[in-house]
Symmetry: C2
Subunit: 160 residues, 2 copies
C-alpha cells in the first residue's frame, strides 16, 4: 500500500520569519521508511518516461536527487546558488520575496538532447524551479518531469 | 573490478581563489557509473558495521548521503550551516581559513545509542567533519564510520 508522505512531514510555525508555516522534510528523510517511500514514489511516477539525468536544486533537492539518480541508474547534476560551482557555468536570475537570487549550472553538466528529471523538496512560487528549467533548456536538455514532495498551491507554483 | 573514483574527478585551478586546486566531484556524480561506484564503495567499506542513520554535511554531502541511506535502508540526517534548519537545534562552531562558521543539527534527528555514518565529499583540514562528529555525539549518537571521497592529506584532516 502506498504511504502518505504527509504523515512524515512536520510543520514548524514562524520559520524563517513570523507568520510562515514551514513544511519540514527533514523528518521525512530522517525516517528509513519515509525516505524510501519518497524515492520510490518519485520513480513510480516516471513509468514510461526515459530519464538521462537527474537535476536537483540546492540544497534539499540534493538529498533526493542523488538517491533517485542512483535508483534510475543515471548521473546527478546539482543546480547551485551562485559562486559554489568551480567550473565554467551558465546562470539564471530568479525573484525572491525580497530581491533576486541567481542559480548556476556547469555548462557541460547536461548534453543536448538529454531527458532531465528536475527535483526539489518543495514548490512554492515556482521561481527557483523555473530558473532550473531555463538552465537545463539553455544547455539543450529537456525537462521531462519536475517532482516536488510538497506543493503549496496557494502560492501558485504549479501554474507557471 | 573496482573502478578508481579519481578517474571521474576533475581539478579546477584557482577556485575559490588563486593558488587553490579545487577537486570537483560534480563530474563524478554526473556520471551514472561514477555515482554508482562512489555509493557502492561507501557501502562496501561498511561490511560488519551496523549503521542506523546516515548524516551528511551541507551541501555536497547531501548528494551521496540520501543515496547511501536509501541503499542501507536507514534514514538521512542533514548537518547544516546555521539558520537553515527550522526546528530546535544544537550548534557547533568550527574554524575556517578566515574566521569561524557554525554547523547545526535538529536536536531530535539522532536518538541516543544510534550508530551514525558521517559523509562528505572531501576532507581537508577536517574542521567541518569534527564539528559534525561533536554534534552527533552531543545527541548521544556514535560515529561508527566517516567516509569522504577525497582526502587532501597535506591538510591533515585524517590526523585529528
Amino acid at each position: 500500500m502506498t504511504k502518505d508522505l504527509r504523515d512524515y512531514i512536520r510543520t514548524i510555525p514562524d520559520f524563517p520569519h513570523e507568520g510562515v508555516l514551514f513544511r519540514d522534510v527533514t523528518t521525512l528523510f530522517g525516517s528509513a521508511e519515509g525516505l524510501h517511500e519518497a524515492i520510490e514514489q518519485t520513480v513510480a511516477a516516471l513509468i514510461g518516461i526515459k530519464v538521462d539525468k537527474v537535476a536537483g536544486l540546492e540544497a534539499r533537492g540534493f538529498i533526493m536527487g542523488g538517491a533517485v539518480a542512483q535508483r534510475l541508474g543515471v548521473g546527478f547534476v546539482p543546480l547551485r546558488k551562485k559562486g559554489k560551482l568551480p567550473g565554467k557555468t551558465i546562470t539564471q536570475d530568479y525573484e525572491l520575496e525580497y530581491g533576486t537570487a541567481t542559480l548556476e549550472v556547469h555548462d557541460d553538466a547536461i548534453e543536448a538532447g538529454e531527458n532531465v528529471l528536475l527535483l526539489d523538496d518543495l514548490i512554492a512560487t515556482g521561481g527557483t524551479a523555473e530558473a532550473g528549467i531555463k538552465l537545463i533548456e539553455a544547455l539543450g536538455g529537456k525537462v521531462v518531469q519536475s517532482t516536488f514532495i510538497i506543493d503549496l498551491p496557494d502560492l501558485g507554483g504549479q501554474i507557471r
